[in-house]
Amino acid sequence: MKMLLKLAFRNVFRYRRRTIITFSAISYGLGLMALGICLYNGVNTHAMDSIIDNQTAHLKILAPGYFEEKNEVPLEFTIDEPQKIKSLLKDNQDIQGIESRILFQCSIISGMDELPCLGVAIEPEVDPLVFKIKDSITDGRFLESSEPKIILGSSLARDLGLQVGDDIVLRMFLSTEDFIWNALDMEITGIAKTENPTVNRQTVFIPLSLAQEALSLDNRVTELAIRIEDRNQLLDVRNFIQSRLATLDTDYELVSFKDYASDFVELMKMRSRIQVLIPLMMILIASLGIVNTMLMAVLERTREIGMLAAMGMRKMEVMLVFVFEGAIIGLFGSLAACVLGGLGGWYLETKGFSMAFMGKEITDKLLSFLPMEVFYGDLTAGTLLFTLALGIVVSILASLYPAYKAVKLDPIQALRHVG
């Protein structure tokens, strides 16, 4: 076996140029595949995090019927007893925070300009436990309870030419059908630039008590947003909340971030189907390279194969020499792919991949359904190990056919072969 390996190893470097070409095909192909997986995983994780951190939290308790109409942000479906529900759930250690919120339709009036946007009324002291809006304040400060101040998404502020300290009028719609509205004079206290471009472009935040008064909702809210310690405990916490809600007289809906971000989850599923295609294409490229190289080797070494057979080398041993050669090319190619993928993955993980180079028009279109502007990779040892294993396995499989051709040669004919 050792001799067969030695023979295979030296044969690999016998035709250096061809080996380098095959080696490069494998390393570039699989390296790109590793990079693709890294980016895909990163987008998956970061995008979902971005949705959770800025829009949906992990779970939301809603009044029945609200979820179906959620795009209209209706005020007709409200939770009448938010404090009671909060106290029902407070003994669960896995829950990090529960925030009462109201989502409402509004518009910002600044001078002659008016822009429609999404209003989010928050509990300033609880919000940092559930969302990351406070961490994304780039200018000014976060809200304090019941002050008539407002936080604007960064893109919204930019589009209206507003900054911290400016006064605006917030027109809040009590009913979308009857166009009943209330207006509040407010001062901008902070600008939020979250990872989520949707939030930056169209969202404003005001204190909950102010909204309840302006929207005539008394103590009612439209949702209770819940953050849990560990996303893996989602099912357990969900069951817990469900069981506690069942003790109340009123029915409530409990939805997770997955339900909320169903469009994005669908997109992820579609991407995961595409993701299967990428390795398949890479496998095809690598296989063709190996098959071509090994078939050429069989052709060029026909007489040598005949001689090996004449010396009494068994068919399996001849076959092994060629399979080992394929495996060696695969091993080195895959190792190089891991280095390439690793370096690229490290870059994506630390610096990210911005879509800005595609131009504003395309970027804006993409941002209408992608919850982030800069994609960060997520490089894992598993991705690199998968790349390594795939390269070796594919190379071995691809060298089986040429190896079979080698052992099918008649020794006498092979010895007569003029190469």
Binding site: L7, L308, A310, M311, M313, E317, L415
Partner: protein
Amino acid sequence: MPIAQLENIHKVYHIGKIDFPALRGISFSIEEGEFLSIAGPSGSGKTTVLNLLGCLDKPSRGKIFLEDRDITALPTSKLADVRRRNIGFVFQTFNLIPVLTAMENVEFPLILEGTHDSKERRRFVEEILTEVGLKDFIHRRPNEMSGGQQQRVAVARALVKKPKLVLADEPTANLDSVTGQEILQIMLELNQKTSTTFVFSTHDKMVMDFARRIIRLRDGKIESDQKVNPK
């Protein structure tokens, strides 16, 4: 007991729809230690006889015995084992493994045989390479050696496992006459020293002069079988 025996051997090659009879009922036996030349013009059947003796091919009719074993009854997979243990080959075009050194090329059949440890193998290889005059070339690869040196390595490779039979198909055809004579001299000396049986095919008069027995073939039949005294 003869080391090899051919009984009424026929060999027909099927080329397309045409049957080409290469051997038409030849019989002879080879005793241990012989230095035998199979001679004859092109197409007379020399190489076919060597292929059959070397277990690389099977006759269409007739029986071949190596010692007392009927090898014509063996399946192809077993023939590889017979070759591995009992037969050494020297080819016209040397056919060394280009990526291995002289030493590794000679060691290769011993590794395939699998009966010696590495220390023993190294000793055998050094001994035989010294015998063929290549003691100082053991770490050279084939492309770093002359044709004559390569053929000496090939002779060493054929003999290192101490086979019962060494088959050489026109071993000097690719060498100049002086180098060819040197190779034949080495083969003859090893034949005398180790009593290894050599069978080689040739149509070269100079090669035949080294033989102790010459079987002449013509059109697939034995034309003559004569013992000759060394000159």
